[in-house]
């Protein structure tokens, strides 16, 4: 016989999904970019693991794209505490269209991301033009279904990145960060970490306006690769 209202409530914190897709195409091997990316993701995950909240359950999925137009999932969506980072090697192509389709499939899956969850944060980092068609995938992602409600953040590395694609992808113009160097990758992930933290501690995580203004540049901080 139940003795308390506790017997009828879902005893789980609400999910805050964070989906990261990174470019591991051949061009990422230049200028220490892939090494910087590997380190930045590790730091990012470690920082998220330190976030403490009884009311928010940060869940992370890690994807990468490269090789022969491959999109791979290195880490299925799950609690951040159980995420283990893999070292990426850079080679191959940049299938951004397929990447969006793969992420969309995850976001639309109500078994994996229930409606009780907060809107996911989706992060894409790339240094090149897409090698597959992005038109339909992008339109569907940003205009249709649950993916259109996601917090969409991106980083364009270098002059070869497809700025127009990324401008269309992000949910607010200031959520597109441009950079040239390995240090910029680190700075970008600092922004992503802060944005997730900001949402995790907000009273209204789906209405937060993320700000890149407050991130120190760490100009004098050595990037250890």
């Amino acid at each position: 016989m139940p003795v308390s209202l506790n017997d009828f409530i879902i005893q789980k914190a609400r999910q805050l999904p964070v989906i990261v897709a990174v470019d591991r195409s051949g061009s990422m091997s230049k200028d220490g970019k892939i090494e910087a990316l590997n380190l930045a993701i590790k730091n990012f995950i470690n920082s998220l693991k330190e976030e403490k909240s009884d009311k928010i359950d940060i869940q992370v999925a890690l994807y990468s794209f490269g090789g022969k137009d491959e999109v791979t999932c290195e880490c299925e969506l799950g609690p951040v505490a159980s995420v283990e980072c893999k070292e990426y090697s850079a080679y191959g192509r940049t299938p951004l269209g397929s990447t969006l389709n793969t992420i969309k499939q995850l976001i639309e899956d109500r078994a994996k991301i229930p409606s009780r969850s907060y809107a996911p944060t989706v992060v894409i980092i790339t240094d090149g033009e897409s090698t597959d068609d992005t038109t339909k995938a992008l339109t569907t992602f940003i205009r249709e279904g649950r993916s259109s409600k996601a917090f969409r953040i991106a980083m364009a590395i270098g002059d070869d990145a497809d700025i127009n694609f990324l401008k269309s992808f992000v949910s607010e113009p200031e959520y597109l960060v441009t950079g040239e160097s390995a240090a910029d990758i680190k700075k970008f992930f600092k922004f992503v970490t802060m944005s997730v933290s900001q949402r995790a501690h907000s009273l209204t995580p789906d209405s937060v306006r993320l700000s890149i203004q407050n991130i120190s540049t760490d100009d004098d901080e050595e990037l250890i690769l």
């Binding site: 139940p2 308390s4 209202l5 506790n6 017997d7 009828f8 409530i9 879902i10 005893q11 914190a13 609400r14 009884d54 009311k55 409606s115 009780r116 969850s117 907060y118 809107a119 996911p120 279904g145 649950r146 409600k149 009273l203 209204t204 995580p205 789906d206 209405s207």
Partner: protein, 226 residues
Amino acid sequence: MRYNHILTSVIGAHPNIQDAIKYFENEDRIVAVVADGLGSKKKSGDGARLICYLIVEELKSKQLPLLPADIASPNIWYKYFEDGRMNYNDYCTTCSFVVIDKKSKQMSVGQIGDSPIFVSTDSNPVVEIRREKDFSNITDCLGSIERSQFVIHNYVFTSIIRVLVTSDGIGDELNSSSLDSLFSYLSAKYQSYTPKSRSRRFTKEIKNTVGKLNHDDKSAIYIWSI
């Protein structure tokens, strides 16, 4: 046939409560309204209180069953802000209500947005009335540019009615597989207290349980017949 009720409205982590509730009962009617002002809108608590007032005033005498187009309150709500040259988008709120006509034994429930309603008539299991939403804090509401009408469900009952109207701060935390047991629990537990102390005890129980799960304000009205 008599009716009991318990109600609560508990502030979440916001500085001001943005939920509103209103309960009206006379010989013929019961009207219960829960409105959940959107957390991201600075004056949504005022919007929630206004729609609660308008719904009670309109439905305490309106003939049942209801049709969505019959309900004038949403239009009056918008007009109130437009006439005052205020931006109604600052006052966004959901609204869910139940109206019971005691003599004809009819009940109507209405919903704009994601404040869930749970209904059981006679010996039927509890039905969950909620809009499928994309994510936790994203919902239809009064105050959006695209104006929504109430989604209405009408019921006739013979001897038993049990209905729970909540804001999503409570409704989203309830386990769908144990709603019948929840209703039995609430009816049995709160029946045993005096009418004066029921809501106070219910508020305390909400604070000690659901209160620890999310930042939202938490409001509910539970009505059951005896």
